[in-house]
């Protein structure tokens, strides 16, 4: 990030929350069948 960039808590919250949901969801949905569940 540039030192001139000005991310706010609302921006960081939105990006990290949705990215976490998607990555965690994908990991779980791939692991469940791989574990034979």
């Amino acid at each position: 990030m540039s030192r001139h960039d000005r991310p706010t808590p609302a921006m960081r919250f939105a990006f990290t929350t949705w990215m976490t949901i998607v990555v965690a969801g994908l990991a779980v949905m791939i692991l469940i069948p791989l574990l034979g569940r």
């Binding site: 540039s2 001139h4 949705w18 994908l26 791939i30 469940i32 069948p33």
Partner: protein, 225 residues
């Protein structure tokens, strides 16, 4: 805190209804699954057992992949194709990836532009395509998850009926895989097409997804005209 909630209201609203919808889907899917089990003379499953099963995973994944595929295509095709009059489109004549000046790249970057917009090479290319790359990756991974979970369910059902288990490759050629895939794709493509076309003549006052109410129907994007 009040400022934060206001600034992230759109994300927070969709986060709340996403969580509620997934919980609702878990309860409804669990109840339906138990009805099926009872009909086959098998004991019912617990809720946790159901939400960690491939039955639940395939139902979630088939919807995820189609949503991300829709946005992947929408982001990609709006680079090269336009719809005259639609606020979802660039102006006719603006097709393509744009000049470095239009895109605020390199010497045209602003002081507060992302750092990778100011440099040349791989980092600029990655930033320039990062939204498409991420949406495409989530689409492919969720479609892969749908295929794995769907194959597991199909295999478990085959074994219950005294048939040999199904391989992942064999499942990719089944009507179940393509029925689940295409029934979701068709609705996404319909919704995108309608959004592009309806927004030429229809408005929602105050919405970022609409032209301002008084904007002429023939105006596509006021900003770049």
């Amino acid at each position: 805190m009040g400022r934060f909630v206001k600034d992230a209201g759109l994300s927070l609203f969709f986060l709340a209804i996403f969580v509620l919808a997934v919980i609702g889907q878990a309860f409804a899917g669990h109840a339906q699954n138990n009805e099926e089990l009872l009909r086959h003379g098998q004991p019912p499953e617990g809720l946790w057992q159901f939400v960690t099963s491939s039955e639940f995973a395939v139902d979630v994944a088939e919807n995820w992949q189609s949503e991300f595929f829709q946005f992947f295509l929408f982001i990609l095709m709006t680079v090269w194709l336009v719809q005259h009059g639609s606020p979802e489109s660039k102006n006719p004549g603006d097709e393509g990836t744009g000049s470095d000046a239009d895109q605020l790249l390199g010497p045209h970057a602003r002081p507060d532009s992302p750092a990778w917009a100011k440099v040349a090479g791989v980092r600029r290319w990655l930033l320039s395509n990062s939204l498409l790359i991420v949406m495409g990756a989530v689409f492919l991974l969720s479609w892969f998850a749908q295929s794995l979970a769907g194959a597991t369910v199909a295999s478990q059902e085959a074994v219950q009926h005294g048939e040999p288990p199904m391989t992942w490759a064999a499942y990719l050629a089944t009507p179940d895989f393509w029925n689940r895939t295409l029934q979701n794709w068709q609705s996404e493509f319909l919704a995108v097409g309608c959004m592009v076309a309806f927004s030429i003549y229809l408005r929602q006052r105050g919405s970022a997804e609409s032209k301002p109410v008084g904007t002429p129907n023939h105006v596509t994007s006021e900003e770049s005209q």
